[in-house]
Subunit: 383 residues, 2 copies
């Protein structure tokens, strides 16, 4: 279903030969209208890939006719030639679909610092256009995979309208944004300002709080396209919740497929003085390599949680901190709490609650354990 669950969209996914192994590597998503409204959020990394620089400009217009996405190369740190390649890709899509190139978003993922094989990519655009289908969402989702072991899609159905989406991402997952490439589509009849508001609200508490390995990508892109094909204009709150639900579902799929991970860790910071404090503490815990190793070893090492909290500027008193791991309050008032032997860590899901005892705000950050498989996968990725 994916990006073609909503009416008014066609999609395709093909193997253009960008990946040397012959796997699918080029996806095309087309909005057939009647509306072409769109919103986007992008990586906050100051080193931005060429397609991010291009698509940021496209999205300023609030209209997107098509999105072309490739795996097999990030087109990041590729200089003026890289930007020319992105531009040429958008022009090619525009020519083949007879749309305005300024309304074609481009997204790329893969190794940084390598130029794309344009001699394969440009003919691939023609093949992708020829295979566009109202049932092409799944093939598109498959074509954007890199080290992903599964493709990720999600759909939320409203009353006469729906929101669907696809995502890729398995490494270099960190806030601002947390994911790599995401395309969401809806047939709701909404303008780009409404889409932008709903998308920013949704990503702030979903993708932005998925922090698998603390590494921020140069290519993160999340797009939301509306065709208006359902002719239904849902209430904002209802629509925003649908977008949030799809983003949350896709974010969870990213965590569950994170490179080399054997544990999915939910870090819930409670009783913080502010939401910012809660997020800062959650991220600090999520990025503590020693804790991530301990969780991998099924060791409820709450001392490493406290040492991570202690590096933040959040409001708290060290002797009032409480930590629960999988329901057992192993740390109370900054010291030894319930017996750590009571903590059952056999399952993939691990739930850490950090109670700052400083207020009433809360935030949840998702991360993974740190494993030898992660090291292996990322020490061999570019070779």
């Amino acid at each position: 279903m994916s990006v073609t669950a909503a009416q008014g969209f066609t999609a395709s996914g093909i193997a253009a030969g960008i990946k040397e192994n012959g796997n699918p590597d080029l996806a095309l998503v087309v909005n057939n209208g009647p509306r072409l409204a769109a919103a986007g959020v992008f990586t906050s990394n100051r080193v931005k890939a060429a397609p991010v620089l291009w698509s940021e400009q496209v999205l300023k217009g609030g209209q997107v006719s098509a999105v072309i996405l490739n795996s097999g190369g990030a087109n990041a740190c590729t200089g003026p030639k890289g930007f020319q390649d992105t531009h040429a890709t958008a022009e090619k899509v525009a020519a083949v679909l007879d749309v305005n190139a300024g309304e074609v978003a481009v997204a790329s993922t893969g190794l940084i610092g390598v130029l794309l094989p344009m001699d394969k990519l440009l003919p691939g655009v023609e093949s992708a256009a020829a295979q566009l289908s109202a049932h092409g969402g799944e093939k598109a989702a498959i074509a954007i995979k890199t080290t992903d072991t599964v493709h990720k899609t999600s759909v939320h159905t409203g009353d006469g309208w729906s929101v669907g989406g696809m995502a890729k991402g398995a490494g270099m997952l960190a806030p601002g944004l947390a994911t790599m490439l995401v395309v969401l589509t809806t047939d709701a009849d909404l303008d780009s300002e409404t889409l932008d508001r709903a998308l920013r609200a949704a990503t702030r508490t979903t993708f932005d709080r998925v922090d698998s390995d603390g590494c921020m990508s140069t290519n993160d892109t999340v797009l939301l396209l509306a065709s208006g094909a359902s002719a239904v204009t849902p209430r904002y709150a209802e629509f925003a919740e649908a977008v949030r639900a799809v983003c949350d579902d896709l974010g969870q799929q990213l965590i569950r497929d994170a490179e080399g991970a054997s544990k999915d860790i939910k870090i819930e910071v409670v009783n913080a003085a502010s939401e910012d404090d809660a997020v800062e503490v959650g991220r600090s815990i999520a990025r503590n390599n020693l804790l991530k190793c301990a969780i991998h070893g099924e060791d409820p090492n709450w001392g490493r949680v406290l040492s991570a909290i202690g590096t933040t500027g959040a409001a708290f008193e060290p002797d009032q901190l409480n930590v629960a791991i999988n329901g057992v309050w192993v740390c109370k008032n900054g010291g030894v709490g319930e017996d750590r032997e009571l903590v059952d860590m056999r399952y993939r899901e691990v739930h850490i609650v950090a109670d700052l005892a400083a207020g009433s705000e809360t935030a949840t950050i998702w991360t993974n354990d740190l494993t030898a498989d992660y090291v292996h996968e990322n020490s061999a990725y570019s070779s």
Copy 2:
């Protein structure tokens, strides 16, 4: 030689039974004067171990008669009882040596959240005192090891005076401070204010720039004790350089013995607009897990260097960044530079130069690669 290289100091290291495996776990360093001047710097983690809370108060007086250090338990996050135990340890040392307990510094290292076995530690203090020797420096250095594979000592000899020291630390190494426990001694005739000035200047560019795994400890302690026994008062610049040299040497030993590491990575940030910018960028690179995995795989993945630089607030333009790995400028002007195949990464030492092209300031951060051995060691540490 270690802490007993300088005149006026005795030391010992014994097995008190704190470690279950029977290895040495208690070290005592005594300043026999005539001076008892001292300075100390401690972890900036807000969750501080009991011995840090205690020793910070002791050092405020500028006088230290003795330092008692144990491995086998950090006495961190141990509540009021943990602080009482630290206090009782200092009192015991004071009674045995007939000194003021307010001049006894305490340092601990090991697992967080576990009370020390005081029934073993207190009798151990008597044994350690009985074995004090002007040749005990090496035994003291051995007794403070945890996961260290080797003990670390360093000596700098001046004209009629010297500075010596010992260090332990192999994991949880990150700035503010970068190390675990360090004791430096000198027989130079200097007051505590001079020691403090020299120690802060030295740690700022040595231990504070060793960032093995980004995790800040609850127990980091660096002490500098002066006996005045040489009756020589060196010029400040000469003394400060001696302290810096010993700290630098010990910091390098920490990096070379970091848990599971197979590569020592020197990250030199040049042409920064400010030293703060250079340090921020260096730390960001040092903490990028994806880059650390790539280095482990002997992959000169400069794209991961750029994506790390891009997460900082330092002054730079993305299209002016240059990166060299082991002497090869693999990234020029933010894009592809010299052939990455030219980079020889067979050796343990890896040298990354990040040129921000934004000024003339520089800073060097030391880190390690991320390996499966690191994961293994830290997933099994507390079990």
